[in-house]
């Protein structure tokens, strides 16, 4: 067997091992979800580490980055710096979360947390909150029998 053929054979073996590793890692992340961990941050760390490991497998072996020359750093370094800085720039937004309490959904969330059954609006009976024309016709019909 020529050395080229042996090399090709070993390539194939590497690819197959990487493929099996990717499948196992996928199964692991589904399993991590299935066991319902009590601490969500543990689950987050586990599955994002698994995702990173899978990404590294794909990039290093399937995309041949492991075997490429130094040009890969020249091309990928600026991209990765920009890609990382974008979520970091947004992270201050997450950190201060200054806008949360102003959303109508947040108010509604609070209201649902309180007992909805105790909801006792001060609005008048027949008070129309809807803005559709049908509502207006409806109230007009009530006033002019």
């Amino acid at each position: 067997m020529s050395s080229a053929a042996t090399e090709a054979q070993s390539h194939r073996q590497t690819y197959f091992r990487v493929f099996v590793a990717l499948c196992v890692l996928t199964a692991l992340s589904v399993a991590a979800d299935a066991i319902k961990l009590s601490n969500p941050w543990v689950l987050r760390s586990i599955i994002l580490s698994i995702a990173t490991a899978k990404a590294m497998c794909v990039m290093l072996f399937f995309m041949h980055l492991k075997f490429e020359k130094a040009w890969k750093y020249l091309l990928l370094a600026p991209t990765i710096v920009l890609a990382i800085s974008l979520p970091l720039a947004l992270a201050s937004d997450v950190g201060f979360d200054y806008y949360i309490d102003e959303t109508p959904q947040a108010a509604s969330f609070e209201q649902q947390n309180r007992n909805w059954d105790n909801h006792n609006g001060a609005s008048r009976i027949g008070d129309n909150r809807g803005s559709d024309p049908a509502t207006k016709t409806d109230s007009a019909a009530t006033t002019n029998p």
Binding site: L43, M63, T103, I125, R129
Partner: protein, 344 residues
């Protein structure tokens, strides 16, 4: 020997083919593109209290997502084998592996389509989701009213103005029920008209109660009396407020009514989903752009597969398509845990 192998022209820059350099630069921009989308999703999700994570509400199916992950990994493996076969000059085998890759891409889109269909069937679309109890109740009223309008239009003679449909059909119903000797056709028509009339009562009943925010336990006529009274007397005692569960049961009960069940076939109780619209926007934006990349990948595979036999001249093309396809797989590797698994 007069013939020597031509010396490659000396050139500046990175020692890889221009096509490959172009593909890598493109993938660099793609990394930033998807990082921006995923980063936005994370910001929105962490900044929203009460993000929908209940799979019975969001219809996120971790097993379908996992299956799709597997499908993409296998296709990624096949495309690397195709590239390897090109390198070995085994073009027949390379073509076979490329076909398998493309087929798996189609399978991925099929599973994605099943997921999208499930979302559409449950009304999970950006801007179409009720987020509060009030919105859910109003939405059920609207759907019931629309159903009534459609049934009315279906029974009325073609071309009847919408405003006259109800009057015309009421007259027909009264005429038929006064008629002494009804033929079987008359009986059937009368039953249809009666069912729609009953549907109108139900729709009006629900609408009035929801608009007035008064419990359905108060009968319609008493509600009408109360509303008339409240127009002049602001000190009227307010009855109990309507609850979401009441409206949901009202819609469910329509299906148990033998007369109405055939008319309200597709109506279903609505459960509000807080931040559901933001969730749906993010879900469809991320998975939609990924699916678009899969479609483009399939077109690129079509370019190499459709013309027929492969040859050495396709080597660089297959390598570049392979790089692109691995990137599509890479994006899914991150989307899968972030969308399907993480319960923040």
């Amino acid at each position: 020997m007069t013939h020597t192998a031509p010396t490659p022209a000396l050139r500046m820059g990175i020692p890889i083919p221009h096509g490959k350099l172009g593909m890598w630069l493109f993938l660099g921009t793609e990394i930033m593109f998807f990082t921006a989308i995923v980063g936005t999703y994370i910001v929105m999700r962490l900044g929203s209290r009460g993000w929908p994570t209940d799979v019975n509400v969001t219809y996120i199916n971790v097993y379908l997502g996992g299956l799709n992950t597997f499908v993409l990994i296998v296709s990624s493996y096949f495309v690397v084998l195709a590239h390897d076969s090109m390198h070995d000059k085994n073009y027949f085998q390379a073509r076979k592996f490329l076909w398998w890759t493309a087929l798996l891409g189609v399978v991925f889109l099929g599973i994605k389509g099943i997921e999208y269909k499930g979302k559409f069937d449950h009304g999970i679309l950006p801007g179409k989701i009720a987020e509060t109890n009030r919105q859910a109740m109003t939405m059920m009223v609207d759907q019931l009213t629309n159903t009534y309008d459609r049934q009315l239009a279906a029974l009325a003679p073609k071309g009847t103005p919408v405003a006259d449909q109800a009057t015309l059909l009421t007259a027909e119903m009264n005429r038929l029920s006064d008629k002494g000797d009804r033929s079987p056709a008359d009986e059937a028509r009368l039953a249809q008209l009666k069912a729609v009339a009953k549907l109108e009562l139900a729709a009006n009943n629900l609408r009035d109660h929801v608009r007035a925010e008064v419990t359905l336990e108060l009968p319609q006529d008493q509600l009408n009396a109360l509303r008339a009274q409240s127009m002049t007397d602001s000190a009227v005692t307010r009855p109990a407020a309507i609850k979401l569960e009441e409206v949901q049961h009202f819609i469910e009960d329509l299906h148990h009514d033998t007369e109405l069940a055939p008319l309200v076939g597709h109506l279903h109780p609505i459960t509000p989903m807080l931040y559901g619209n933001l969730f749906a926007s993010n879900y469809f934006f991320m998975t939609g752009f990924h699916a678009l990349h899969v479609v483009i990948g399939l077109i690129l595979f079509g370019v190499v597969l459709v013309p027929g036999r492969l040859s050495a001249s396709w080597s660089l093309y297959v390598e570049n398509v392979g790089l692109y396809w691995h990137f599509v797989d890479l994006v899914w590797i991150f989307l899968f845990p972030l969308i399907y698994i993480v319960q923040w």
